[in-house]
Amino acid sequence: MSQMTPPDAIKEDSMEKQKQMISANFHELAQAPQQGRKVVSTFVPGNINELLMCFDMARNLPEINALQNGMRKKTGRMIMEAERSGHSEDVCTYVKADLGMMAQGNIGPTGETLPKPDLLLLSYTGCFTFMKWFELVREQYDCETSMLHIPYQGDGTINENMRDYVVKQLREEVIPTLERVSGVKFDIDRLREYMRESAKSEEDLVWVLQTAKNRPSPIDAYFGGVYYIGPIFTAFRGTEDASEYYRTLRSEIAERLEKGEGPITPDGEMKDEKYRLVVEGPPNWTSFREFWKMFYEEGAVVVASTYTKVGGVYDFGFRHDPDHPLESMADYCLGCYTNLNLPSRAEMLSNYVEDYQADGLLINSIKSCNSFSAGQLLLLREVEKRTGKPGAFIETDLVDPRYFSGANVKNRLESYFQMINQKRGGGFSEGVAA
C-alpha cells in the first residue's frame, strides 16, 4: 500500500504516471472543501474505493499519509508530538504519525493541507487498532463514522452467511450513510463500471507479480512491489488512470522479462540474482532505501510478498465482478491477506516458497504492530517445516525511525544469506558475499 516518490534512478513511464496520480490526489483532497466535495477517510485493507467513488467523495487514506511522511523522514517529529499528547511508545506508529501530523496542522506529505474528513469509514475490522485510531480522529473532528464489520476467516473459508452479512451491512448501513453524507444518490450501474475497471487492473497486477516466477525475476515483488500496488490499494482502484498505469507497467515488465533483465533498484538493474526470498510483513519506510540496499547489494531479490496482498489478494483468481457488485465487494473485504487465519497464511507462504522457487521465508516483524506480529514466529516454523527451506526473522518498524537498527538488521540479513548458501552446500568459491 504505497504511493511513494519513486527513487531518482527509476524513470519508467509507469513511475511517472503514478507520481502524477499521487500528487493529483493530494491536491484534490486539499481542494475538496472549496469545491464542495465531501471527504472520506478510510483504510487500505478492505477499502471499498469503487463504492466511495459512486458518491463523488475524495478519499483520504491515513496509513498512506503516514508512510508517505515516513519516506520523507517527517514521522519522527510527528510521533514525538503524539507522544507528548499522551500516546505511549508501544502504540502503532502509523496512528501516532497521523495524530502528530494533525497536531502539527494536518499538512500532508506533499505540503498541502489535508481537509477535515466528513466521514470516517471503517471498512475493515481485522485490525483492532484501526477502530481506536478512528475513535481518536472522531474525537478531534466530531465527524460521522460508519463501520463495516468484516468477519474473520477463522476457519479459513468465506461462507454464504459471511458474504450475506457484509452485503446486508453495505445495503442497510454503509450505502445509506454515504448517500446522506455526500448528498449523492447511489447508482449501482456506476459501481459496475468502476468494478469493470478494477478487474482490468487486477488482471495486469497479477500478471506483473507472477513474472517473479522467472529466473532471473524481472521484478522485486516487495521493494518494487510496494510501488506496483500503490494505485490499486488506494484511491485509484476502479479508475481509468489505474487501468492505464497497470497497462503501462505490464508492458514495461514484459520488456524486461523478454530481455532477461533483473529488477530495477535505486542503483540500477540488479544483475546477479543470488537469493530468492518470500517476505512477510511491511517494509520499514523511514529507512526504505537503506533497507532495500541490504538486499540488492547481496544479490537478493524478493519473489513474492504477502504485504503486497494486504489491500487485496488477487493471485488466486478473485476479481471484482461487475455482475455481482456488492457480493464481490464483500468477497474482496473478506479475502484480504490480513483477514486470513494463521493456517491459511502458512499455506499461502509455503506455496509461494514452492511456486516462486524461493530459497526461504524472511519475516520482517513490526515492533509496534500488535495485531499482525502475533503468530509470525509460528508461521516461520511452519513454513520451514513444510518447505524444508530456512527462514529468518528480523524486526523493524513502520514509520518510527528510532526502531530501525541498521547494523542489527544488516547483520541478521547477511547471516541469513550465508545460511542459505551454506544449506545449498556452497562455500566461498561461489562468491557469496558476507
Partner: protein, 440 residues
C-alpha cells in the same frame, strides 16, 4: 607450515585463532577491541602468533622433556617471563611516546618539565610493580596491556599530579594519545627476540639446565624457524566490515559460532552465545550448518556489557562478578535487564539492605532469562547444548543457565569449553580452511 586464521571482532574483545592443515589449533590470541578495530585485529593476530610459537616450542621440547623436571612448569614460567619482557618492552615504548607527545608546542615550557617529571615517576613505579604482576600465581584484573598499564597509570598519575600541582587531565590526555600508537608497534620479529631473552632469563634462574642450555636453545630456535604461511584469513563479528579483507574473507558470526561450536562438540544442536553486545541463539544441524537463529533485537539488555556495567557500578573487575555471585545465600528476583536501570536497581536493593552477593546472583539470572527467551524463539534447546562467548566464563551465569535449562528442558548435556570465547574465531578459521580446500 600452512596456517588458517580466524579473527572474531567482538564489541568487547577481539579474538584470533590459527589452525594448521590438519585443523589442529596452533594458537589463540585475544585483545580488547577498543575503538580501533584494525589495531584490535592485528594485535589479536600477533597474540595468536605468539601463542602458536609457544605451542611450537612445546612440541619442539617434548622429545627432550626428560631434560626438565617438569616441562609444563618450565613452559609456563617461560611464558610468564616472556609476558613480562613484552610488558616491559611496551612500557618503555609507551614511556618514550608519552614523552614525545608531552614535548609538543601544545604545552608551556614549565608545564613540559613538570609533565616529564610526572611521567618519569609514573613509569618508574610501573616498572617496579611489573615483576609482581607476572609472578607465579599472580592475579591480574585483565591481561591486556592497555588495561594493566592504563589503570596503574591513572592511579599513580592522579597522585603525582596532585603532588606536582599539575592538572590530571593533561596527563590523561598524553596517555590517550600515546596508547594507540604503542599498541600498534608490536610485531612478530620483536616477539622472537623477546622470547629468546625470556629463555635466557629462565635458564639463568634454573641452574640445573645450564648443561643442556645449547640443546634447549637449539630446540626453541627450531620452533621459531618454522615458517608460518598465512594461507587464508576469515574475519567475523560486528567489526568485520572494517577488516581490510575482501568480502570473500568475511563471514557472519552466527555461522562462525555455529560451526565453531560444532567443531568443539560435534553433537551440538543448540548454541547460545552471549557476547558483549549481542546474544545469539543458534540451532545447528549434524554437520554444523545453521538451521535457525535468533538475536536480541530492541536493545542489548541482557548481554555481556550489562555485567561490565554492573562491575563498573560496583567498582570491581568484570571477572570478579561471577565468584561474588556464587557466594549468594538467598534468591533475589530481578526482572529488569535494562542496563541503564541496572545501576538504579542495584543501589535500590543495597539500600533495602540486600547483600550484594545475592543481588549479583539475581542480576546474573536476569540476563539468562533473556537468553532463555531467545533460545525458545529460535526453536528451543536440543541435546547437546553448547554455551559460548565471554559470559560462558562466568560461573554464576552458567549456574543460572543450567538451572533454567533443567527446569524448562530437563536433562540436557551442557558443553562449555574453557576456550569458549574463541568459538567464533574457531568457526572463522575453519571456514578459512574450507575455503582453501575449495580453491585447491
Amino acid at each position: 607450515m600452512k596456517c588458517f586464521v580466524g579473527i572474531d571482532l567482538g564489541s568487547t574483545t577481539t579474538k584470533a585463532l590459527i589452525l594448521d592443515e590438519e585443523q589442529q589449533i596452533l594458537g589463540r590470541g585475544i585483545t580488547n577491541s577498543r575503538s580501533n578495530y584494525d589495531i584490535a585485529a592485528s594485535v589479536a593476530k600477533e597474540e595468536a602468533l605468539v601463542n602458536t610459537r609457544i605451542n611450537l616450542v612445546r612440541q619442539s621440547l617434548e622429545p627432550v622433556s626428560t631434560l626438565f623436571e617438569n616441562l609444563e612448569e618450565f613452559l609456563s614460567g617461560l611464558e610468564r617471563t616472556f609476558r613480562l619482557e613484552q610488558f616491559m618492552e611496551q612500557l618503555a615504548d609507551l614511556e618514550s611516546v608519552c614523552h614525545t607527545n608531552a614535548s609538543g608546542n601544545r604545552f608551556a615550557s614549565r608545564e613540559k618539565t613538570i609533565i616529564a617529571d610526572a611521567l618519569r615517576k609514573i613509569f618508574h613505579q610501573l616498572r617496579e610493580e611489573a615483576p609482581e604482576l607476572f609472578a607465579p600465581g599472580a592475579s591480574r584484573k585483565s591481561d591486556f596491556f592497555r588495561d594493566i598499564a592504563g589503570s596503574r597509570y591513572l592511579a599513580i598519575g592522579e597522585a603525582s599530579a596532585r603532588e606536582l600541582g599539575l592538572s590530571f587531565d593533561l596527563l590523561l590526555n598524553v596517555y590517550d594519545r600515546s596508547i594507540i600508537e604503542v599498541e600498534n608497534h608490536f610485531g612478530e620479529g620483536d616477539a622472537r627476540m623477546m622470547m629468546l631473552q625470556a629463555l635466557q632469563r629462565m635458564l639463568k634462574v634454573t641452574p640445573e639446565l645450564e648443561s643442556q642450555k645449547n640443546i634447549i636453545l637449539e630446540k626453541v630456535e627450531q620452533a621459531y624457524n618454522i615458517e608460518l604461511e598465512e594461507s587464508y584469513v576469515v574475519g567475523t563479528g560486528y567489526g568485520r566490515a572494517r577488516l581490510p579483507f575482501s568480502k570473500d574473507h568475511i563471514r557472519s558470526e552466527i555461522l562462525c559460532h555455529g560451526l565453531g561450536a560444532h567443531i568443539m562438540y560435534p553433537e551440538t544442536r543448540t548454541v547460545l552465545d552471549i557476547g558483549g553486545q549481542d546474544t545469539k541463539a543458534i540451532q545447528v544441524d549434524p554437520s554444523g550448518i545453521v538451521s535457525s537463529f535468533q538475536m536480541n533485537d530492541r536493545c542489548a539488555a541482557g548481554c555481556g556489557r550489562y555485567l561490565g556495567y554492573i562491575a563498573d557500578e560496583m567498582n570491581v573487575g568484570l571477572h570478579e562478578l561471577g565468584p561474588m555471585a556464587m557466594k549468594a545465600t538467598r534468591k533475589v528476583r530481578i526482572n529488569s535487564t535494562c542496563t541503564v536501570f541496572a545501576g538504579a536497581e542495584l543501589r535500590d536493593r543495597l539500600a533495602l539492605g540486600e547483600e550484594r552477593e545475592d543481588i549479583l546472583a539475581g542480576l546474573h539470572r536476569a540476563i539468562i532469562l533473556r537468553a532463555m527467551s531467545l533460545l525458545s524463539r529460535s526453536g528451543g534447546i536440543s541435546d547437546q547444548f553448547t554455551f559460548t562467548g565471554g559470559v560462558a566464563n562466568n560461573e554464576a551465569a552458567v549456574m543460572a543457565l543450567k538451572g533454567l535449562i533443567q527446569e524448562n528442558y530437563g536433562e540436557v548435556t551442557v558443553n562449555i569449553d574453557p576456550g569458549s570465547i574463541y568459538t567464533g574465531a574457531l568457526g572463522a578459521a575453519t571456514f578459512a580452511h574450507r575455503a582453501m580446500e575449495e580453491h585447491a
